[in-house]
């Protein structure tokens, strides 16, 4: 299990502030920095460090790709322990795999596919099955009740 990173109070304030609405103005970092009482240079330096330490996995627009004609689908696989590393590497090599988690269950690998078109999902699933030799079980969303990817640091 990975461990929590060492974050100071300013890092935490910054992470919390940046999960909100990043300003659409010419100098957005300056605006956020001012609201936190930091210089723009300090904010950019900390942002860089948080990325390098992988505290932030990305920073930018979160696209709801279905609204742009694409598709997101959650899928799972049942992978034998001895094959786990090989299969994880094969699955992760697909750019369509947006994220992938190991979970404690017979279905122990859960990943999200993101493709530019709905047909891309079936094609990617077929390609993953061919590459790994294992079946992929898709769990497309039928209805979304809530999504809020903000977490208080």
């Amino acid at each position: 299990m990975p461990e929590a990173a060492a974050l100071d109070e300013t890092d935490r304030r910054l992470i919390n502030a940046l999960q909100g609405d990043f300003p659409l103005v010419a100098e957005p970092y300056r605006e956020v920095a001012e609201s936190l009482g930091l210089s723009e240079a300090e904010l950019l330096r900390r942002l860089e460090s948080l990325h390098q330490r992988r505290v932030l996995t990305r920073f930018g627009p979160m696209f709801q790709i279905e609204r742009a004609g694409g598709a997101f689908v959650l899928a799972a696989m049942k992978v034998a322990e001895a094959d786990f590393e090989r299969v994880a590497a094969q699955v992760n090599a697909f750019p369509e795999v947006a994220h992938n988690y190991r979970r404690e269950h017979a279905l122990n690998m859960w990943f999200v596919l993101a493709t530019a078109t709905p047909q891309g999902i079936a094609e990617t699933i077929a390609a993953i099955e061919a590459a790994t030799g294992l079946p992929v079980f898709p769990f497309p969303k039928e209805r979304e009740y809530f999504v809020e990817m903000k977490l208080h640091a």
Binding site: M1, P2, E3, A4, A5, L7, I15, Q19, G20, D21, F22, L24, V25, A26, P28, Y29, R30, E40, L44, L47, E48, R53, R54, L56, T57, F59, G60, P61, M62, F63, Q64, R67, A68, G69, L74, V91, P95, A98, H99, N100, Y101, R102, R103, E104, H105, M109, F111, A114, A116, F137, F139, P140, K141, R143, Y145, F146, V147, E148, L151, A153
Partner: protein
């Protein structure tokens, strides 16, 4: 959300491809993106605003690695909920402040009887278990079975990467 698909032109699509990996960490990030695409920073801002308004962009901001900020327990709780009540109950589960994602998904019988997925992030498994118990109370007799799949490793987390 039943809405018509927003119209995206070729420049919007290039803007999606240029920003899906993240915004540049420079003082004038929208000018920098505009420079790559051959449009002005003002136009980048206007197009991003339009995509935010139409829901193509959910929000602009940071995605923390939840382990790194202390949410070391991540449980995907899954529930077998009566089909006649799932939409009403799913909305209520989604409204719980500790649920970060909540969806209805198809069952895969006989192995997978669950049709409601609710993600719970907490600082430890005891806290996740307590929150899952709250969901169980809310669902009551409409729920026939449930399970919690704890994550033990992030194998990949890059986000969307569609091809230009």
């Amino acid at each position: 959300m039943p809405e018509s698909k927003p119209d995206l032109d070729a420049t919007d699509r290039r803007l999606i491809v240029a920003t899906q990996g993240g915004l540049p960490r420079v003082p004038r990030p929208y000018d920098a993106i505009g420079g790559e695409l051959g449009i002005g920073g003002d136009e980048v801002i206007a197009r991003l605003q339009r995509m935010l308004d139409s829901g193509v962009i959910r929000r602009i901001g940071a995605v923390p690695n939840h382990y790194a900020i202390g949410y070391t327990a991540n449980g995907m709780s899954v529930w077998d909920v009566d089909d006649t009540r799932i939409d009403e109950l799913g909305a209520r589960v989604g409204a719980l402040e500790f649920v970060t994602h909540c969806y209805r998904r198809p069952r895969r019988l006989p192995d997978w009887p669950y049709n409601l997925f609710a993600m719970v992030h907490s600082r430890n498994r005891e806290e996740v278990a307590a929150r899952v118990a709250e969901i169980a109370v809310l669902l009551g007799a409409a729920c026939r079975a449930h399970d919690v799949l704890y994550s033990t490793a992030i194998l990949k987390k890059t986000g969307l990467r569609i091809a230009g």
